[in-house]
């Protein structure tokens, strides 16, 4: 098997289980995003793969080879840290040279590789600067350069863009994809930002409390979430929840709600946010507050309207948060909302 495989990977800190029997596979050249709230175990997973922390159980396979016990320095892993972790006492060139020197790569070869990666990332002019003299974006590029220089067998990214402003993040996403993904090494990308995960990754693994909730394509996770947690975590503005029978819950995406001439739920707009291409309405209904996205041009009267949705857009979950089929007794009572 080629690519990266995590088998039953576990990590225990004291008596707390940080990561529980994680099974995950990343194909060569594939970018898999680990997505989840803080403390869900995504960074832990990355550190285990990098060899920075020891596993409490399970195996890590790279191209079929067991690397679980291999020390970090010998895994040929490239990692971009959230803080970039550039050495503050060294300038850009020295930062890049440190690892190559420790590997005993001859000077000429070293200089050639550093020069080419500096060129690639347009850092050549900054080679004598120290990290403190660089902007956030430049530091990030230096961290990327250090990762690329390695000719790594795995690429690990730990929230590499969380210290950049939103605009820069958006610009860098395609560049990051171009540089890191699609080559031979599998890419693991940790983020808590779902938009970033959706923009960067081929597939997304959603983690919660040390357990894998669901792994799948970006579209699949959004339209067909396996659990209430995934449905809730993905999507902005967040999904609406309506209580069903016997502790079940109905999830409705804000963009799936539509104004209807009749039927559906009676609603009164409480608040509206205008976003340019669409507007977000906060609706007061007999079943609670609903968020509805209206495309530009559509209008909702101030005094009241009726909202409905298509039965195909309903997402049902049981009391334990597991997904239910769209047909079942739990639908009774909410059918009036369906159109």
């Amino acid at each position: 098997m080629s690519g990266l495989q995590l088998q039953q990977l576990s990590r225990r800190c004291g008596d707390r289980l940080v990561l529980e029997h994680l099974d995950l596979a990343v194909a060569p050249g594939e970018c898999l995003a680990l997505l989840g709230p803080s403390g869900c175990g995504k960074t832990t997973t990355l550190r285990l793969v990098a060899g920075l922390d020891p596993c409490s159980g399970g195996r890590i396979l790279l191209n079929g080879e067991d690397i679980t016990a291999r020390p970090a320095g010998e895994r040929e892993v490239a990692m971009v840290f959230q803080s970039y972790a550039l050495f503050p006492h060294l300038d850009v060139g020295e930062n890049l040279a440190l690892g190559l020197r420790s590997r005993g790569i001859p000077r000429a070869e070293r200089d050639r590789r550093i020069a080419s990666v500096l060129e690639l990332l347009q850092l050549t002019a900054l080679v004598r600067r120290r990290p403190a003299q660089l902007s956030g974006g430049q530091r990030q590029r230096v961290a990327l350069a250090r990762a690329l220089l390695r000719q790594p067998r795995i690429v690990l990214l730990d929230e590499p863009m969380s210290n950049l402003d939103a605009r820069l993040r958006e610009e860098l996403r395609p560049e990051l994809r171009r540089l890191l993904c699609g080559g031979e090494p599998p890419v693991l990308y940790v983020t808590h930002d779902q938009q970033e995960a959706m923009g960067m990754a081929d597939r997304i693994a959603v983690l919660q409390a040390g357990r894998l909730e669901q792994v799948g394509g970006v579209r699949e996770l959004y339209t067909d979430p396996a659990s209430r947690f995934v449905a809730d975590f993905l999507g902005r503005p967040a999904i609406n929840w309506l209580p069903g029978r016997d502790g079940t819950a109905l999830g409705l995406r804000p963009e799936h709600l539509r104004p209807r001439p009749e039927g559906g739920l009676q609603a009164r707009p409480e608040r509206r946010e205008w976003w340019g291409h669409q507007q977000l309405l906060w609706l007061e209904t007999p079943r609670g507050t609903l968020r509805m996205l209206l495309p530009e041009g559509a209008e909702a009267g101030a005094e009241g309207l009726r909202v409905g949705w298509r039965a195909a857009d309903e997402l049902w979950f049981d009391a334990a948060g597991q997904r239910l089929s769209a047909e079942g007794p739990w639908r009774q009572g909410l059918e009036s909302g369906a159109v």
Binding site: L52, Y84, F87, P88, S102
Partner: protein, 263 residues
């Protein structure tokens, strides 16, 4: 206000310098107040000459500092990076208690130790109690400095394939330079000024350290206090410290301006 503080701290030193350059008679208001180096000649040609005790103190200070730093750094590193919950906390508390312990209470025990282990009159041996006394504070300072370093820096170095020794040399030591410099100054200073242990452990005249040698200056005359000689010895004894601080200051300041350890 600034001038006042400057005067307050520099005043005694300048007065000492003036005293050292005046003939003894001038100090008590008799005789001419002509500048002279007589006091310096006196202490440098005395028995033992002051330069010998300066050298002894320097050697002991250097040895103590090197020994302290080379023990304190791994200790602080282990305590900080592999902290073992309650145990780590306990060790920290013991260190703090040890650094606050009244050292006077140790003299009798140390004397007994020196006697039974034949450590008396050895400058090398003198480094041992000095190191022991300096270690707790040194470990606490270095531990705080290591705690202030982002752990990812070391993670990054590990991923770059740097072994522990290489990480120490090319990442930890340069980043800890300011803390190491201030710890070195404190340790050297404590050793340089230490009197009671040196007094009890060293009896051979050619092995006296500076404080004990200075104490002997007073014994050279029963009827007059050799103010001038004292002053000259003080000035000579302060010069190496001044030099040390000036040299180390460059490290400390470069560490401060380097800033942005956050990467």
């Amino acid at each position: 206000m600034r001038a006042l503080v400057l005067l307050w701290s520099l005043g005694p030193l300048l007065w000492q310098l003036r005293t050292s350059l005046l003939p003894p008679d001038a100090l008590v208001g008799q005789g001419p107040t002509a500048w002279t180096l007589e006091n310096y000649r006196l202490v440098l040609s005395g028995d033992p000459p002051l330069w010998a005790s300066l050298r002894n103190s320097g050697l002991v200070g250097l040895g103590t500092t090197l020994l302290t730093l080379s023990l304190a750094l791994p200790c602080a590193y282990a305590l900080q990076r592999h902290r073992a919950g309650l145990l780590g906390w306990g060790v920290g508390a013991v260190l703090l208690a040890a650094s606050l312990f009244p050292t006077v209470l140790l003299f009798l025990g140390l004397l007994e130790m020196a006697r039974s282990l034949h450590l008396a009159n050895s400058l090398t041996a003198l480094c041992l109690p000095y190191t022991a006394l300096a270690l707790p504070l040194a470990i606490l300072i270095l531990r705080a400095a290591i705690a202030a370093l982002p752990p990812e820096l070391e993670d990054a170095a590990r991923l770059e394939g740097l072994a522990l020794g290489q990480r120490l040399r090319s990442v930890l030591l340069p980043l800890l330079a300011p803390a190491l410099a201030s710890t070195a100054i404190l340790t050297f200073l404590a050793s340089w000024n230490e009197y009671p242990i040196a007094l009890t452990w060293i009896s051979r005249v050619d092995r006296l350290t500076l404080p004990t040698a200075m104490a002997r200056l007073a014994g050279s005359s029963v009827f007059t206090v050799p103010y001038g000689a004292f002053a000259a010895a003080t000035v000579l004894g302060s010069l190496p410290l001044l030099l040390l601080v000036l040299v180390a200051q460059r490290w400390i300041i470069s560490g401060l301006t380097q800033g942005a350890v956050k990467g």
